[in-house]
Symmetry: C2
Subunit: 447 residues, 2 copies
């Protein structure tokens, strides 16, 4: 291989060292074989691959082979940084330095009943930060933050860059769709990974999440990495590795990043389902709502404020009611009516306790699958969500119930969906003669 | 999942147990994830994949992901058997039981100057066996057995099943192209593996070779697994594992299989290049030719005769000249003229010894690359071969040379190819003050 001949034109240029031009030729087979055989890929190879795949110059089968090799042989820190950078460079990176407030955002790996973004974003804005929460549709099957927000009549997720900046300036918080220009490489790679069985890879998940968060322009970031039966990553050690990997990527990219590992064995709050969760979020903003949702919201808000360098007390701000008008402005700015009634289910069925006893376990997983089967999630990526469908829990872990007492309400539009959902919901509760201690929500903090 | 309802018709059938019908549904993601996570795939999953991919029902990117997972996590014996069986079942399996002679064949993993099949097939036929050597175009870049034979004017590689059977009956030996119906799954999988960096996988190579050899219908098989710088698999341990894997597949398929690991550090014989190798093969059949080629031909012939249960002495048969007329009948039966002059190069350049001394090393690899650059091999799969191009060695390992003595002749049509070829050819020889012992060709026998 020889370097292309470079002629430096003889004109008056400022005195800088002309870097040695050496763009090595890259061959996809060499890249695949290198990773297959455990070699660390070089930055220019990663850049070449991400760019080529995004442009459609590298065929799916070659990318698939490389992704499986990455899945099995991993990426080291330098590779991860290059991979994430290349995904950011595939699109635009928002410049939020024009704002007069410090920026901070939160990302959650998702869990059953996780509506925390909804009260959190306006709360942190009320504390003085700008919160630019741009979300992808993510895994696509379960209702994500955008799906929850879309149950608000009139609300729209898709905004242009100017609208995003205006809203951040005027309202201080936004929840919106990450547009096509935010890490487009991730979109292509994610769709491929989903089709070829390489989703659950720590470096690929970490670079996917972090490329979008870094591209959205936030200066600081708090990650809520869920652990347990209702989490994408049930195992604590793997969740910790994911958290550490993302914190490392953030640090190397100059985005101050903190991660909390939080418990996702049992649903968060009482509401599971899109419109039901919006209602719960509004009650939290109004000073009510389930204790666990309030606690996690305030805990994450404290981390975000600390990361952003704000001397605020989110617990006091929430109690003061100051976050609710920010929420209403957020909703209105995106065409939504915060006073309009939310969609309601055509049918509400109650499930009763089959025996008396203490609820010793309320498993997030069957509740999540049950709600998903009611229509709160999608069977296929293109399916619509049923906004009103879901579950409201009346008994949670640590509660005492009498036989025949309501355990949960099932909200649904189509009665045909009931049996398949009940099959799972009925398995969610375990009862015992003694109460078990309810462990704290936050397992570990990684910074 | 429920089994389809089976109605056993009420007619008089011989008393057999009706097997429980249970065809489980297979999902490609489950298959990929299973292999990715180190699970042994089930036979029905492998059958489903090979069939689906051959029919075009499974997209390349999913197959690519699975193949990389197989590359990195391997296949156990049961998986290998299922994989090979499924590739055989993707096409037709020849039935050679109609022949009145025992069948035996040889397969070589290929090396520089390896023209052994050409004298071997007629020799073993002259010993009383039927030799059904159906070859793929193989790796496609270097001249294979079919390319060598095609330098004979008029000779054609493609025959129908009836022609193959007729020739085996009448001549006793055939070298022909494995048709489209012989393990077509292998053709598709091989092309994909070539594009996605998963060629060098022992289970995938083994099942690829063995599926074609088992499908061609031979009852016994001798494998020549090359080891060394000029071999596809330079490392002895890996070559041994490949040999053991293939012997195991053969045994489980009822094809008695023996493997020899043979040395491929230095070219076999003096001729490297298609027409040049045919000429050398003919001289071996006529009682001459280089010792190493004669020795390996006779050694492999002995193994094939023993495997076929023939009490013959191939050394004596070769010396008697009885194999040459079989060769001539083989060539004629496929339209070739064994008396016609072979293609000759437009140009012959000689390379001379730069010093006097003993040839302590003649490296197969630069000789192979040099010949390939002269046109004996292809740069791209579709490129034509230059039949007359190649190299004839005048000095081999263990020979004494004086300075200025001819080392080799370079045969070529296009003088523009000379510099790039010489660059490698000049590196092939090492000289020393003392001769080094030349190690035996056969390293190990695996049965």
């Amino acid at each position: 291989m020889t370097a292309p001949e470079v002629t430096v034109p003889e004109v008056n240029v400022p005195e800088v060292n002309v870097p040695e031009v050496n763009v090595p030729e890259v061959n996809m087979i060499d890249v695949i074989v290198g990773k297959r055989d455990g070699r660390a890929l070089r930055t220019h190879e990663i850049e070449w691959f991400i760019d080529g795949y995004t442009r459609g110059a590298i065929p799916d089968e070659q990318a698939a082979s490389l992704l499986m090799a990455v899945f099995l042989n991993g990426l080291d820190d330098a590779e991860l940084t290059a991979w994430t950078d290349a995904m950011i460079t595939s699109g635009d990176r928002l410049d939020l330095s024009v704002l007069d407030r410090p920026t901070t955002d939160k990302h959650s790996t998702g869990g059953v009943g996780d509506k925390i973004s909804l009260p959190l974003c306006p709360l942190v804005a009320a504390c003085g930060a700008a919160v630019p929460q741009l979300s992808g549709r993510g895994l696509g099957y379960f209702g994500g933050t955008l799906d929850k927000m879309e149950s608000i009549p009139g609300w729209r997720a898709n905004l242009g860059t100017t609208e995003i900046l205006d809203q951040l300036r005027e309202v201080g918080a936004i929840i919106a769709a990450a547009g096509d220009r935010l890490a487009p490489a991730d979109r292509r790679l994610y769709a491929l990974r989903d089709a070829i069985g390489t989703v659950e890879s720590i470096p690929l998940i970490a670079s996917s999440i972090m490329s979008k968060k870094i591209a959205e322009g936030t200066a600081t970031l708090v990650l809520d990495v869920k652990v347990g039966s209702g989490a994408f990553m049930p195992d604590r050690d793997r969740a910790r590795r994911l958290a550490e990997t993302m914190v490392g990527i953030g640090a190397r990219a100059g985005v101050r990043t903190v991660a909390l590992l939080t418990r996702m064995d049992t649903p968060l709050g009482a509401a599971v389902g899109n419109a039901l969760e919006v209602a719960e979020a509004v009650s939290v903003l109004g000073g009510g709502g389930p204790t666990d949702v309030v606690d996690l919201t305030v805990t994450l808000a404290r981390e975000m404020c600390a990361a952003a360098g704000l001397d605020a007390d989110p617990g006091a701000v929430l109690a003061s009611g100051a976050a609710l008008p920010v929420w209403e402005r957020m909703v209105r700015a995106q065409g939504g009516d915060p006073t309009a009634p939310l969609p309601r289910a055509a049918l509400i069925e109650t499930m009763y306790a089959p025996q008396r006893g203490w609820v010793t376990r309320l498993d997030a997983r069957p509740i999540g699958i049950g709600a998903w089967r009611l229509g709160a999630g999608r069977a296929h990526r293109q399916d619509p969500i049923v906004p009103a469908a879901g579950v409201v829990l009346h008994a949670k872990e640590g509660d005492w119930v009498e036989q025949g007492q309501p355990l949960l309400d099932i909200h649904l539009d189509d009665p045909a969906r009931l049996p398949a959902a009940r099959e799972f919901l009925e398995r969610a509760y375990t009862f015992g003669p003694e109460p078990l201690p309810v462990p704290p929500l936050v397992i570990e903090r990684i910074a």
